[in-house]
């Protein structure tokens, strides 16, 4: 085969993938690299090109600041609560609507709505629901004899409220993923379990769960990295407050850049947040590889 033919055979994949790759290089990779550079400088918002190299100072300072460390804790707490909440609720919802019943299509549609609703509309309605004086949450609690809660204003409630809204928004994703996986469980498998006289729960544990586990793991990974970077819902509900109680890393990046004008520090915070996501992803692939091998053997 002549070299010319070889070259012509090698070109096609790049014709298809090239444009997207170049696009990502310009609008994602280059800004990201610039962000890496910024994180080693003392750049200010008002003079974005005038920063000087300061080595690892931003990182060193951040890692010794209580405010930053508590932001890491808030991120981990928010992410864990949201992921666990969404997994539990989403899986429960999937099992609840997996079998046929009257009204199933309607139930499924209503259960999908939160995922489809634009974040800004979600935030508006939850701000109103959680309104201290007139919101339906506190009015209902008052009817039960429970006093006013400061949902979005009370530092002890802020993270809870933000997590609740986030779980509400994203659990349908898990539900739909699990539902799709459940419907791919071969019915013979279930039948054989039933003939053996196995109890419902045993069938679920021994047959259904192993079958949906790989999908569930992928969904959990996506849910985790999405939670680490979630911005709009938190920013618009609380802006990181009250008293920093919902100040996740991503909110912190925004505040540091646009409220404190510290672009260098903001970039460093963003990088550390990104590292967190990378660690989670690597752990996922290690665990996934191990379980896949276990399931295969």
């Amino acid at each position: 085969m002549s070299t010319m033919v070889k070259v012509r055979r090698r070109i096609p994949p790049y014709l298809f993938v090239g444009a997207a790759a170049v696009y990502l290089a310009i609008f994602t990779a280059t800004p990201l690299l610039r962000g890496v550079w910024l994180s080693f400088t003392d750049t200010k918002l008002l003079n974005p090109d005038g920063g000087t190299f300061v080595g690892a100072d931003n990182y060193r300072n951040l890692l010794t600041e209580d405010r930053f460390l508590s932001s890491v804790v808030t991120t981990l707490l928010y992410t864990t609560l949201t992921v666990v909440g969404a997994l539990v609720l989403g899986t429960a919802a999937a099992f609840a609507i997996n079998e046929r019943f009257r009204g199933r299509a309607v139930a499924r549609a209503v259960l999908t709505m939160p995922w489809a609703a634009p974040s800004i509309a979600v935030v508006l309605v939850y701000t109103w629901i959680f309104n201290v004086e007139d919101g339906v949450a506190n009015r209902s609690l008052a009817a039960l004899g429970i006093g006013q809660q400061g949902w979005l204003l009370d530092p002890d409630r802020g993270l809870l409220a933000v997590t609740l809204v986030s779980v509400w928004k994203v659990f349908p994703f898990i539900m739909l993923v699990v539902l799709a996986a459940l419907q791919s469980v071969p019915s013979e498998l279930r039948e054989s379990g039933r003939i053996d006289g196995a109890a419902r729960l045993t069938i679920v544990r021994e047959i259904v769960l192993p079958h949906i586990a790989p999908t569930l793991r992928v969904a959990a990974l996506l849910m985790t990295i999405w939670s680490i970077r979630r911005f709009e819902i938190i920013f618009l509900l609380t802006g990181g407050g009250p008293v920093d109680s919902t100040n996740t890393l991503v909110i912190n990046v925004y505040r540091e850049a646009f409220q404190n004008s510290e672009l260098g520090r903001a970039a460093a915070i963003g990088m550390l947040g990104l590292c967190l996501s990378l660690v989670v992803t690597v752990v996922y692939f290690v665990v996934d590889g191990r379980s896949a091998r276990k399931e295969a053997s």
Binding site: P12, A21, F27, T28, P31, P48, P118, V218, L249
Partner: protein
């Protein structure tokens, strides 16, 4: 007659609880949109005033520039969809059909990695880039920024759909001597149209909903998309709640309808395509 088993009742209860939990805030948007001004203080009824349904559309004459906002959102959304699909149809096909080429792993990883990137981190470098390209305060800049985040998801959805088309379908055409690109365009693409439609919906609403870029890159209020416009109601107590939530509904309902139509394909694309490279 079906027996009422314990498990049956349990499931029925679970469904009711979940449906109320999921549906209530959406319902509350509608209910509040149908109120009159003074109800806020006397306590809003749990039941909607359906007789006021016609008043929902008064929001267009309320002085809130909703039509202009929605128009801007639509421009951003259409642009994002156009660029994302143009890139993703090609890339999705390429990643599915060519398994071994230098840089494939890198491209696949980059596509996945965008899901981890906080937009807030990219804002500052993008800001600098847009200033130098003269894209500040324009809808095109938003389209380009949104495409960077929406396109990878579209690639996965389309790639996983192409994965599902047996290669033999293309080989038959190949034997007849059709060039590769013609096979792609005339044989494979028509078979994955439903997934392309799903990708179109998800990218469209990525652009439609996007808030952070819109609120940092747009200065003039007449270029605000609806996400930014609606966010100006937060913490503002002058606009009547019925107006705020009528506007929210007008913004939300199209998203819900389209998502419901295509969600199955989005799900399979996201989970199958994202990680299995």
């Amino acid at each position: 007659m079906k027996r009422w088993t314990g498990a049956g009742v349990g499931r029925w209860l679970a469904v009711v609880v979940l449906v109320v939990f999921a549906g209530f805030p959406i319902y509350w948007m509608l209910n509040t949109a149908l109120t009159t001004g003074d109800e806020r203080f006397v306590g809003q009824s749990l039941w909607p005033k359906l007789s006021r349904l016609g008043n929902l559309f008064e929001v267009f004459d309320s002085g809130v520039p909703l039509l202009r906002w929605l128009g801007n959102s639509a421009v951003i959304a259409v642009g994002t969809t156009f660029f994302s699909l143009a890139l993703a149809v090609l890339a999705g096909y390429g990643l599915s059909r060519y398994r071994h080429f230098a840089g494939r792993g890198l491209v696949a990883f980059a596509l996945f990695a965008t899901q981890m990137l906080p937009e807030a981190l990219l804002i500052v470098p993008l800001y600098a880039l847009f200033v130098s390209l003269g894209l500040m305060n324009g809808l095109l800049g938003l389209v380009l920024a949104n495409t960077a985040f929406a396109m990878p998801v579209a690639v996965w959805i389309i790639k996983s759909a192409v994965d599902g088309i047996p290669y033999e379908v293309e080989e038959a055409a190949r034997v007849d001597g059709a060039p590769r690109f013609a096979i792609f365009a005339q044989v494979t693409l028509p078979l994955v149209t439903p997934s392309i439609a799903a990708a179109a919906v998800i990218t469209f609403f990525d652009g439609w909903n996007e808030f952070l870029f819109a609120s940092t890159f747009i200065r003039s209020t007449e270029k605000w998309p609806a996400s930014k416009g609606l966010s100006s109601f937060i913490g503002e107590y002058i606009t009547p709640l019925s107006t705020v939530f009528s506007a929210s509904l007008v913004f939300t309902v199209p998203a819900i309808i389209f998502f419901l139509l295509v969600q199955r394909r989005i799900i399979s694309g996201l989970t199958a395509g994202s990680v299995k490279g």
